[in-house]
């Protein structure tokens, strides 16, 4: 299974095995990674699964879709590499993906 590394705001790393076809958000939830709330359960409707994609992975992970973009836009702490992890699908191409978690979800 592809591996994904979540890095908390304080630097704590969580390396998890992620199931292909599921969302990156789900991989975090399944492995009890703290710092992702996912209040809407993965419907791109709350923006509480915000992550920042490591610069080495931005090209492979791609940018936000239209609906995701409008939700991300509501966060004043949005960065150029921000994504909603419920909109990122785990694939073999993303084996090794690294994402940073924000200090707070909003």
């Amino acid at each position: 299974m592809p591996k994904i590394t979540f890095i908390e705001h304080d630097g704590t790393q969580h390396i998890v095995d992620a199931e292909v076809g599921k969302s990156v958000m789900q991989a975090a939830m399944d492995n009890l990674v703290p710092g992702i709330d996912a209040d809407c359960g993965g419907e791109c409707s709350c923006a509480t699964c915000h992550v920042m994609v490591n610069s080495d992975w931005v090209a492979k992970a791609g940018g936000p879709n239209e609906a995701e973009d409008s939700m991300l836009d509501l966060n004043p702490e949005r960065a150029s590499n921000s994504r909603l992890s419920c909109q990122m699908t785990v694939s073999d191409d993303l084996d090794g993906l690294i994402v940073d978690l924000p200090e707070f979800q909003f």
Binding site: A38, E43, S45, M71, L74, P76, E103, F104, F106
Partner: protein, 414 residues
């Protein structure tokens, strides 16, 4: 309007009515607290239900969790304009506000102010909120009856609002009054007439115009009035639009958290086993806060207008139809929430509730509300064995604001 006399819903068991005759918006159901059985029936038998005639004209009721999420997340097909409650806006007194606008104007205006309640800013406010909460709680009488709504819920939320607006602290109860007036009407007993309501809201506008002028003349500050006066998307608003947005921020920060502050005490009193869990494990408070917000659902509904014909759960909503998303019902939907009628402070996935809405209009102040409630309960638990409710609380007579006008309590120390 139909010729037939209107059935008074509160006189009926919902099972005895033809499904098409059900009108969950009727005030009597909310005054007498009989609405839940009606929502139970709609969720089971007609989750997308058309009411052909009501005090507010025809409207659709959407009552299941997943259907509500589908509509709330789809601003392209369901417009928030010109208003977000079932009540039609007064034609001669429009109150434009960003919650009742669609993108892109909504986004521009919201972005101007949302930083004030973003988590980074909240961290700076936490100490002040805790000190104020301690002061309010320490000033309460122990062992004698008083009104929790007035002394705690209104006081704390009003102090918070005054801080966010940098509003003269001694005048802060004016904010409480304007919030009540904005959502009240003649039948609720809050104002004598629509004219009187508008006159009071103009007083609100006049007061804030003074603050606006004062803040516009200075550099941009961190309070909401200053942010509006300096923001590119908001600095040229008309007075009516300024008033609309003020009311949005006042009601949004006031009626909602206030009623969750009261509702939590009421829920714990009705569930002594949960109160015992809380005493044994204060660490459950953040999870309990989400459960309180679900259980209370301080705003019962939001409304949309369909932009096009739309199929939902077997029904066709026509372009132009009014659609009411009953958050209160969705938060009791057993298809999405386990044992939804029970108040369970350590429930799994407690954050997955509808009370803040979903999509681009999701509650801007949700993190602030959670923080205020968390601090309140942390400080209450340090001081009191029990906040005992005496009798039953009095309900706000509204199908929009789901809350309390009064709740008598007695405090029992540890």
């Amino acid at each position: 309007m139909s010729e037939a006399p209107t059935l008074n819903m509160a006189d009926f068991d919902p099972k005895d009515l033809a499904i098409e005759d059900i009108d969950v918006s009727q005030r009597s159901l909310w005054i007498e607290d009989k609405k839940m059985a009606f929502f139970d029936r709609l969720r089971d038998e007609a989750p997308v239900h058309y009411c052909k005639d009501s005090e507010y004209g025809p409207y659709w009721s959407v009552t299941r969790f997943k259907d509500i999420m589908e509509i709330d997340g789809n601003w392209q097909d369901f417009s928030s304009e010109p208003a977000i409650t079932i009540l039609e806006p007064e034609e001669d007194f429009p109150l434009p506000m960003f919650i009742a606008m669609d993108p892109p104007v909504h986004d521009e205006q919201r972005k101007t102010v949302q930083g004030s309640v973003a988590p980074a800013n909240l961290k700076l406010m936490e100490k002040t909120i805790r000190e104020r909460t301690q002061k309010v709680l320490d000033g309460l009488p122990v062992g004698e009856q008083f009104d929790w709504v007035d002394r705690v819920s209104i006081e704390l939320t009003t102090q918070m609002l005054a801080t966010l607006f940098d509003f003269p602290f001694e005048d802060r109860r004016k904010l409480t009054r304007w919030s009540d007036v904005a959502t009240g009407d003649e039948e609720s007993g809050i104002v004598e007439s629509e004219e009187a309501r508008q006159a009071e809201l103009y007083e609100c506008l006049e007061y804030f115009m003074g603050l606006w002028q004062e803040r516009a003349d200075k550099d941009e500050g961190t309070d909401l009035v200053s942010m509006l006066a300096h923001g590119e998307a908001t600095k040229n608003m008309s007075p009516q639009e300024f008033l609309g947005n003020l009311i949005l921020l006042i009601v949004g920060g006031n009626d909602t958290t206030r009623n969750s502050m009261t509702g939590g005490v009421w829920a714990l009193n009705q569930n002594p086993g949960e109160y015992a869990k809380l005493r044994n494990n204060p660490g459950v408070i953040p999870n309990m806060v989400s459960e309180i917000i679900r259980w209370q659902t301080p705003l019962s509904h939001m409304r949309r207008i369909a932009n096009r014909d739309y199929e939902l759960n077997g029904q066709t909503i026509k372009a132009g139809d009014k659609v009411i998303m009953w958050y209160l019902s969705g938060n009791r939907d057993e298809r999405s929430i386990d044992r939804p009628d029970e108040f369970i402070i350590d429930r799994d996935r407690a954050r997955q509730h509808l009370s803040f809405g979903f999509g681009v209009h999701r509650c801007m102040g949700n993190r602030l509300a959670e923080m205020q409630l968390r601090i309140l309960w942390e400080e209450v638990q340090k001081r009191f064995h029990m906040v005992e409710v005496i009798g039953e609380p009095k309900l706000v007579p509204s199908n929009f604001v789901h809350g309390y006008t009064e709740m008598q309590v007695v405090l029992h120390p540890h």
